[in-house]
Amino acid sequence: MSDGPQPPPQRVRVTGPARSATRRTPLPRVGEIDAATPVGEIYLASLLREQQRLAVVVLGTLFLVLGAVPLVFHLWPSLAAHRLAGIPVAWWALGVLAYPFLFTLGAFYVRRAERNERDFAALVDAGGEDA
């Protein structure tokens, strides 16, 4: 927006995903997405569907597993008195084990989401020749 008087331009402000420097002419299948053709719609819809399914699996696991903890203790309150290595089980579950569980779910999600995106990129980039 405003840079004051114009000194030598040492600093370039990037206001969106870096793209202009390496811009090539869009490949054919990319063009299909840009032009919102039926084929492009199908590509994008398939990516969205994959990512949504992944999100449902990960969040479903999260809410089912952690949401079950209060229910289990509600149904069997005597569980609270049980101890493992001197520490009550509820403390093991919520004080310790919950965190590696969350991290594992997150790592799983990142791996799968990036794989979905790589597959999508390969699909649209491979376009041209065989299309």
Partner: protein, 502 residues
């Protein structure tokens, strides 16, 4: 307790914060630096900064105190605050970064194409930000009073002054270094004393607490029967979904270089938060043995600060007390800085930017925004009666979960969202959660279902906001903005694919 240790700790943390902020200043030149550090922060550094910003006084002091007083059901707070980042990772991290917007109102306007939605979002960012800042400032007052005997207004004044100087001079770029430093300071300040105190406990022959009501304390449900179950589940929903709607959390995602880095940063944050949250329960368990008086009096918030003095004496106690005081103060400073940046970003775009024009005006507008963002809650913190910290932070989470969470969720994953639907959902969710909490803050003796439903509104207010958003959007489906398809393409397509993202 030795006042000198506390004063030295507070001074050292403030000086270190200002020094690192000034050092980071060398890199801050453009408006983009101020708002989003020019989007070039690497995942490791960025994750430390997010951890530093996110772990507020509620985490550093509050969790240990709550667990001490109320027992294992309070462990849901740290678990929920961490799980909130997993939900954020799965639903919004990468698309939000790719949206290319600066702030939440920017995103809302880009998605719905409506100035009205933008204005409403700006209002809510400022409201949630101030709501969250108020207990931070008051907590600083209580901490300073407990460790140094200073008057209650001293804490808010010191924190406000340091934040004002730091954020106002360097913006997001320099605050990134400050907050990364503060995460590691907070971790050390909790880890080292915990290790020493555990050794002391071993040497004492590991005494255990009196077994009275022990199993109730170990039960991870908030209260008896169905109400307890409802309250716990509602708390889970509020914390899991509230995180993604907190303005200072969201604004940090725009500092990542790209969507992939945004995901990796979030994963890193999950590890850092998990590491940190292992520690507060240790203090609570030790407090159960050594600080029974605190548990009975119900004033658990000072447990972390007082435990070293209760278990040790002499120089060792002073050193450890100084260390935890430093950590607590770092918590106030970093969270207040992050919130001030988020609020100032919105204020400078929508309010102060209109009054300042000419060369250098964006930076001037940002600085004015910071002043406004810090001074209003600071004055309120000094003037207003003390509010219960955990309750107000809980309110902020519930409001965020009932407003911004549905907006982000539907805006990113559903084509059908319209401007009218967004406004209706934001209003219903915001009013529902805000009215409930106002009721709860006023109600002294909560009993029965009505009070339980209003005390933890998330379980009904979040689905209600989503339903209203979807319903009204369906009814106004003709007004779906024409650019939505293109916008969703941009959000979900990996950067490796060279789309026309215009």
């Amino acid at each position: 307790m030795n006042a000198a240790a506390g004063i030295v700790a507070v001074v050292l943390v403030s000086v270190a914060t200002l020094a690192i902020g000034t050092w980071g200043l060398r890199f801050s030149r453009t408006t983009s630096d101020f708002y989003v550090a020019s989007r070039t922060v690497r995942p490791g550094l960025n994750a430390s900064a997010i951890g530093g910003e996110y772990l507020s006084a509620a985490s550093f002091l509050g969790v240990a105190g709550l667990v001490l007083v109320y027992g294992a059901d309070m462990l849901w707070y740290p678990v929920g605050w961490t799980a909130g980042y997993l939900v954020l990772l799965v639903l919004v991290a990468a698309p939000l970064r790719r949206s290319g917007a600066y702030t939440l109102p920017d995103f809302a306007e880009a998605r719905t194409g409506s100035r009205r939605v933008r204005g409403l979002c700006s209002l809510m960012v400022v409201a949630i930000g101030w709501l969250y800042l108020l207990p931070q400032f008051q907590g600083a007052g209580v901490t300073l009073a407990a460790t140094t005997g200073a008057p209650l207004w001293a804490g808010p004044v010191v924190v406000a002054a340091v934040v004002l100087v730091n954020v106002g001079s360097g913006g997001m770029r320099s605050i990134t270094f400050v907050q990364a430093f503060q995460y590691w300071l907070k971790l050390t300040a909790l880890l080292l004393p915990a290790a020493v105190l555990l050794v002391v406990w071993m040497q004492d022959g590991h005494p255990s607490a009196t077994p009275a009501e022990q199993s109730a304390w170990d039960l991870p449900i908030a209260g008896d029967g169905a109400i307890g179950l409802y309250t716990t589940w509602s708390l889970i929903i509020a914390t899991f979904l509230g995180t993604m709607g907190l303005p200072h959390v969201v604004v940090r995602f725009y500092t990542n270089p790209d969507g992939r880095a945004a995901r990796r940063t979030t994963l890193f944050v999950l590890a850092l938060l998990g590491l940190f949250y292992l520690l507060p329960p240790v203090y609570a368990a030790l407090g159960r043995v050594y600080a029974g008086g605190l548990a009975d009096s119900g004033h658990g918030d000072t447990l972390v600060l007082e435990l070293p003095g209760l278990m040790l004496s002499g120089v060792g106690a002073d050193l450890l007390t100084g260390l935890v005081t430093a950590g607590a103060f770092a918590a106030f400073l970093s969270t207040s800085s992050g919130l001030s940046i988020a609020v100032a970003g919105v204020l400078s775009q929508d309010v102060t930017g209109r009054f300042v024009r000419g060369s250098g005006s964006p930076v001037t507008a940002f600085r004015l925004g910071v002043a406004l963002a810090v001074l209003v809650p600071a004055v309120a913190a000094v003037g207003a009666p003390e509010v219960p910290v955990a309750k107000v932070v809980g309110l902020a989470f519930a409001v965020a979960a009932s407003t911004f969470a549905p907006l982000l969720l539907l805006g990113i994953w559903w084509r059908g969202l319209t401007a009218a639907g967004a406004v209706a959902g934001l209003v219903v969710g915001g009013l529902g959660s805000a009215v409930s909490t106002a009721w709860t803050l006023a109600e002294r003796h909560p009993t029965g279902w009505v009070d339980a439903l209003l005390a933890e509104p998330a379980a009904w207010s979040v689905p209600l906001a989503c339903l209203v958003m979807v319903g009204v959007s369906r009814a106004t489906r003709d007004t779906v903005p024409p650019h939505v398809r293109r916008f969703l393409v941009r959000l979900h397509t990996p950067e490796a694919v060279e789309l026309d993202r215009g």
